[in-house]
């Protein structure tokens, strides 16, 4: 490996870590819902992309700045999150783990098809901020738009952590997550907490969808499935229910993906990511921040 290879490898890792912020946001969404309801919402990434698509509607009406488009994506994400709860969870027997799993698979396909039927599957331009900015540091360059995505992702994570650990809503959410029956006895409405969790994670998802669109420069229904898979991998590696875990895992997966792409090529890249997933499932099923004991 010569110096140029090393520079390219480091640059690839840096790009991947920055893009990994979107994986981290998706991982947070998966993990929050799992943390509160102990259910996996497989439609989460599709809903996030759906929210980003919905935000493009505003561009069809007025020439809005990118930041307004992102805000609308967040709002649309919240709305779609609420609808996902209503359709996929509210009236489904929660005691049956397969029922909600399948209902969210159905929702994933439904959201995907709604996007496809609305846009005929045609990729659409998505606005980005600082797309023409490259921050140079010697032989390295960091994309302004990816840095914005990364920074916004970090802000979202901090806000979420504050929400969870510094507000009454966060307290209620954690209470429902840890002791749903005791929470009910304390007068906490679990349904209300669940709805709010879906709306909040929907907002985060909307931002993740918008950031993904901004980072690629386009939206396509092709994004739903790979982002669902990445979100799930991040959730497992980070540890189901762990927000810091999802953040770190998102960045690791993003960085590793690019480095593996650089060294092993596209045909092997995903193979190693999957092996990493299996390694975590076998040796550290609780994720990065889990205690090493109590595996089974």
């Amino acid at each position: 490996m010569d110096l140029l290879d090393l520079i390219d490898a480091v640059q690839s890792a840096a790009d991947g870590i920055l893009f990994g912020a979107t994986y981290a946001l998706l991982g947070i969404g998966f993990t929050l819902i799992f943390g509160v309801m102990h259910k996996i919402n497989l439609s989460y990434a599709a809903a996030s992309i759906g929210a980003a698509y919905a935000s493009l509607l505003v561009l069809a009406v007025i020439k809005a700045p990118a930041i307004l488009v992102f805000l609308i994506a967040a709002a649309a994400g919240g709305l779609i999150g609420g609808l996902v709860y209503l359709i996929g969870f509210r009236f489904i027997p929660l005691a049956n783990p397969l029922a909600t799993l399948m209902s969210t698979v159905g929702l994933l396909l439904l959201i995907d098809e709604i996007i496809v039927h609305t846009t005929a599957g045609v990729p659409l331009n998505y606005p980005a901020l600082f797309s023409d900015v490259i921050v140079r540091a010697g032989p390295f360059g960091l994309r302004g738009d990816l840095m914005f995505v990364f920074a916004l992702g970090c802000v979202c994570m901090v806000v979420l952590l504050l929400l969870l650990y510094r507000t009454r809503l966060g307290l209620a959410t954690r209470a429902v997550s840890q002791q749903p029956t005791a929470s009910k006895l304390c007068g906490i409405s679990t349904t209300q907490v669940n709805v709010l969790t879906f709306v909040i994670t929907g907002v985060v998802g909307g931002i993740a969808g918008a950031m993904t669109g901004a980072a690629i420069g386009m939206l396509s229904p092709l994004l739903s499935l790979p982002l669902t898979v990445k979100g799930l991998i991040v959730t497992v590696i980070g540890g189901l229910g762990s927000i810091p875990g999802a953040i770190i895992a998102g960045l690791i997966v993003g960085g590793l993906e690019n480095v593996l792409q650089y060294f092993r090529g596209v045909s092997e890249r995903d193979l190693y990511i999957m092996l990493l997933l299996f390694a975590f499932l076998v040796f550290r099923p609780g994720g990065i921040f889990a205690m090493p004991t109590g595996r089974d």
């Binding site: 390219d8 045609v122 659409l124 980072a215 386009m218 396509s220 092709l222 790979p226 993906e257 650089y262």
Partner: protein, 398 residues
């Protein structure tokens, strides 16, 4: 007086009956079933094919319809089924069409569907030991080279990408003798992109270009920075991208960010569509793509307008569907197809024989040759993205 009244009444009734008979003869319809992707990420191909089939059917119907084997006139009606670009669905859809009175089907969109689907057809006509489906299918979109060879019941009206890129690379060599090196980019997991990249690369080498390397990505990849960095290091004169609009645009945008500016850009046939311009018109500026359709003749312009009326967009794929309807009309008339419930298999045989016997058909850009392998030799031209639209760059002598 009473006798006269009875005679008059009988005449009126007879005339009415004759009129109703004539009306019912006029109302005969021949249903042509198309199939392709109408859901999933390639839905736009199915939407365009359906619109093109309907637009052509309307044109034919306006001109009086099609003459059947018994001399009666019939109008075309179009049905279009969704195979979701999935091989199993495609086979199931065609089995459903074949269980009806249809004597031909038009489709599919995806090469992977065509490859599997043509495999369930009888390989050689008249082979009693082969229980494969005896049903003619003519493909409009599935573009991977050589697919019609699979069965004698399979036909295609798609352009030969081999001929297109052979011609394009030779033209580039003569027009830009200063360009020496080429770098490729390919969507590795898509049959059409992958196969066409093989053609592009071979033709580039055949014309004396030095291929410096190839970057690979997948159809639903989200980042292309590593691949484009390799491209940047190679610093080739020409970059040839064999990918569909979503990743073509992703790569072009990344090239823009990293400041990769080759002297010439070449793209995949399927990317000469409105999707690429919607996704990345600015970054695609200048990309050269060979295509078998552009609204450059009065027929092609009219077809594009008609297809738009039915909610589609005319491109090299949907234009093929448009042409197919006229091919079917000619074969129905020449082979005296009856289109009756009791002549279904005979009609299918006649349709297959008629399609196999074609030496030349009329295309929107000119005459289309037919090969012994049941493929088309279509006229083509080179377009380039300019000011947010596809404009004709050069029409090679074919």
């Amino acid at each position: 007086m009473r006798k006269v009244s009875i005679a008059m009444a009988a005449m009126v009734a007879g005339a009415a009956l004759a009129a109703s008979g004539a009306a019912s003869a006029q109302e005969r319809t021949v249903k042509i079933t198309g199939f392709g992707a109408k859901s999933g990420v390639v839905r736009v191909f199915g939407v365009n094919s359906e619109a093109a089939l309907k637009a052509a059917a309307e044109e034919i119907n306006k001109a009086g319809g099609v003459t059947l084997g018994d001399g009666s006139k019939a109008k075309f009606s179009i049905d279009f089924l969704d195979d979701r670009c999935n091989a199993e669905e495609g086979i199931s859809v065609v089995r459903r069409i074949a269980s009806s009175e249809a004597f031909v089907a038009v489709g599919p969109t995806c090469s992977n569907v065509a490859e599997s689907l043509f495999g369930i057809l009888q390989k050689k006509v008249g082979d009693a030991s082969d229980s494969g489906l005896q049903f003619p299918i003519i493909a409009d979109v599935a573009a991977k080279g050589g697919l019609a060879k699979i069965s004698e019941w399979a036909f295609r009206n798609v352009p030969s990408e081999f001929e297109m890129y052979k011609s394009l690379m030779a033209w580039v060599k003569t027009q830009h003798p200063d360009l020496k090196t080429i770098y490729g980019g390919v969507e590795k997991d898509f049959a059409h992109s992958n196969a066409t990249y093989g053609v592009m690369k071979a033709q580039a080498e055949g014309n004396g270009f030095q291929v410096l390397g190839t970057s690979e990505w997948l159809l639903n990849d989200t980042t292309f920075s590593t691949q484009v960095r390799d491209m940047k290091r190679a610093n080739a004169d020409i970059v040839a991208i064999s990918a569909h609009p979503f990743t073509t645009c992703g790569v072009l945008k990344e090239m823009d960010r990293q400041g990769v500016k080759p002297k010439l850009l070449i793209g995949l046939t399927s990317s000469s569509s409105i999707e690429t311009l919607q996704g990345c018109a600015k970054q695609a500026e200048g990309i050269i793509i060979p295509t078998s359709f552009a609204p450059v003749t009065p027929e092609a312009t009219k077809a594009a307008e008609q297809v738009a009326k039915f909610g589609g967009s005319a491109d090299l794929h949907s234009a093929a569907a448009y042409e197919i309807m006229f091919i079917l009309k000619d074969v129905i008339e020449r082979q005296k197809i009856m289109a009756k419930p009791d002549t279904v298999q005979a009609d299918r045989n006649k349709m297959r024989e008629g399609l196999a016997a074609l030496k030349e058909t009329k295309g929107l850009l000119g005459k289309v040759g037919r090969t012994a392998d049941r493929e088309a030799i279509k006229p083509f031209l080179y377009v380039h993205a300019k000011d947010g639209s596809w404009q004709v760059l050069h029409k090679p002598a074919t």
